[in-house]
């Protein structure tokens, strides 16, 4: 009884406060390789946060901990009122309906058409929908990324930018509240990268999402970031808006803006 009322208060607290993700004191190491060393971080509702960091600094590890693909050694990750490292498989799946993940390599299933790729998360999360509704959801998501005509194509027939869009559509089909982007513009040419960045802004407006965007593409950062967090040595080294950090005197911060 007591525990239950406590939990209620806890939930109330997070709903009222503006934070959709709140990370405290996160530690993660692979053997001797200490990747995260007490990382703290908050994502507010409606915000686009960019996490900047060098290659291999643990950015992907960070968001994979958030979605529960990796289990941190220590620390709490509160996502929409639930502590992710403590969730069981069923609750984790429920959380993952609300949190979309766009993989760096898109992770489109090679053996499936674009339509089957988009249907996969719908069917797998056992979301009860009729055939017609599924088709409508697929077309809606594809239209929102500007690619309704690719529905019957295979991923191998698409260009890099198109694949990124389809992967985003697959994330959007569950109408997530939060989207985690892992280097969304890496490997794309600057023009396509810019298109994807603008698309991310559109998506944020249309779907009312909050996002964490991992990047070291400064052009993308400029377009999408409301706030920037710089990840160095497994810690939140600096945080601020684009303009604030750009004018920083700190050497380690400056190098990201050159």
């Amino acid at each position: 009884m007591k525990a239950e009322s406590k939990k209620e208060i806890f939930k109330e607290g997070t709903v009222n406060s503006n934070e959709v993700i709140s990370i405290r004191n996160l530690y993660m190491a692979f053997g001797e390789n200490k990747v995260l060393n007490g990382f703290d971080f908050d994502l507010h509702r409606g915000e686009n946060i960019v996490v900047l960091g060098k290659s291999g600094s643990g950015k992907s590890v960070l968001i994979k901990c958030i979605i529960g693909l990796l289990k941190p050694d220590k620390g709490s990750i509160n996502v929409l009122g639930e502590n992710v490292p403590e969730l069981n498989t069923t609750d984790l799946d429920k959380m993952r309906v609300k949190v979309g993940f766009l993989f760096q390599s898109n992770a489109l299933y090679d053996s499936m058409t674009v339509r089957e790729n988009l249907e996969f998360p719908l069917r797998r999360h056992w979301i009860n929908t009729s055939k017609m509704e599924v088709n409508n959801l697929v077309m809606e998501a594809l239209t929102n990324v500007g690619l309704p005509h690719t529905v019957d194509m295979m991923p191998s027939e698409l260009s890099g930018g198109m694949r990124k869009r389809v992967a985003l559509a697959r994330t959007l089909i569950l109408k997530p509240e939060i989207i985690l982007y892992d280097e969304p513009t890496t490997g794309l040419d600057p023009i396509t990268g810019k298109e994807i960045s603008n698309l991310m802004l559109e998506v944020q407006k249309k779907y009312n999402t909050s996002s964490i965007i991992i990047s070291h593409d400064i052009n993308c950062v400029k377009i999408v970031a409301n706030r920037i967090v710089i990840l160095i040595d497994g810690l939140c080294y600096a945080t601020g808006t684009y303009v604030q950090l750009q004018n920083s005197k700190d050497k380690k911060v400056k190098q990201f803006f050159e």
């Binding site: 799946d93 993952r96 992770a107 299933y109 998360p121 797998r124 999360h125 056992w126």
Partner: protein, 250 residues
């Protein structure tokens, strides 16, 4: 040496997980059926042709030795035992280790490095159940079927071989074959192919699931899946011979 022991431990752990996952509900039947079809479709022609030719060749080559002893009438007897007990099942397993084992290793390896396996995980799907359990079940189920087919076709090959030099009538050949072959030839021979199938599936999946980043990682997974599963087929075959020997089934 230490690496080999660690690798064996990891493979055992990976295989152990199979038995834990398979009893959990929601068996992915559609994916299992797709894999069975795929395995049959990919390896049937090669297995069939190879088995037929092996039957033919072994019969032709055994003939002179038997003639030397004046025992050419024993030809169907002798070849049918060696074909059904050893040659057809092992050849089938080796072909499947080459085609199916490498296929699974490469497929899962590329899914691993392009994060498709993680994507399944976040889409409410247990990737071990969806990818590994179905594939291992499919190889365990299909390789015995292919082996039985290979048994049959190699015996047809044997018939042709027996008739190239000598004359053995169709009826005589088959009645000799069935007189010779008893349950204790067929049962152990089919039983071991289940283990061959399981080994090929598990090794392919293990290598795929553990491939490293980079394209050479995927190629390497496929390659070492073939090497290890072929080796395992021989080791299991040796074990099977010992076990049937001990149980005195011959």
């Amino acid at each position: 040496m230490k690496d080999i022991i660690i690798e064996i431990g990891l493979i055992t752990k990976f295989a152990g997980r199979f038995f834990r996952e398979i009893i959990k509900p929601r068996f992915e039947f559609a994916e299992f059926a797709r894999q069975c079809y795929y395995i049959g479709n990919r390896s049937l022609p090669l297995v069939a042709i190879t088995a037929f030719i092996m039957g033919l060749v072994i019969t032709i080559q055994s003939r002179p030795t038997l003639v030397e002893f004046g025992a050419q009438a024993w030809l169907p007897k002798m070849v049918s035992v060696s074909l059904v007990r050893e040659i057809a099942p092992v050849i089938t397993a080796l072909i499947c280790a080459g085609k199916i084992g490498s296929g699974i290793g490469a497929e899962l390896g590329s899914m691993k490095v392009t994060e498709q396996i993680d994507a399944m995980d976040v889409s409410g799907t247990n990737p071990y159940k969806f990818l590994v359990v179905t594939r291992v079940m499919a190889t365990t189920f299909m390789i015995p079927i292919l082996a039985i087919l290979a048994d049959t076709l190699s015996l047809y090959g044997g018939y042709l071989g027996a008739n190239i030099r000598g004359v053995v009538s169709w009826d005589l050949y088959w009645s000799q074959v069935f007189d010779t072959l008893v349950y204790s030839d067929i049962v152990p021979s089919v039983t071991k192919t289940f283990f061959f199938g399981f080994a090929i599936g598990i090794i392919g999946c293990y290598k795929g699931f553990n491939s490293n980043k980079g394209t050479e990682g995927v190629g390497q997974s496929a390659n070492s899946a073939v090497v290890i599963s072929s080796l395992l087929v021989f080791i299991l075959d040796l074990l099977a011979v010992q076990i049937t020997d001990v149980l005195n089934l011959n």
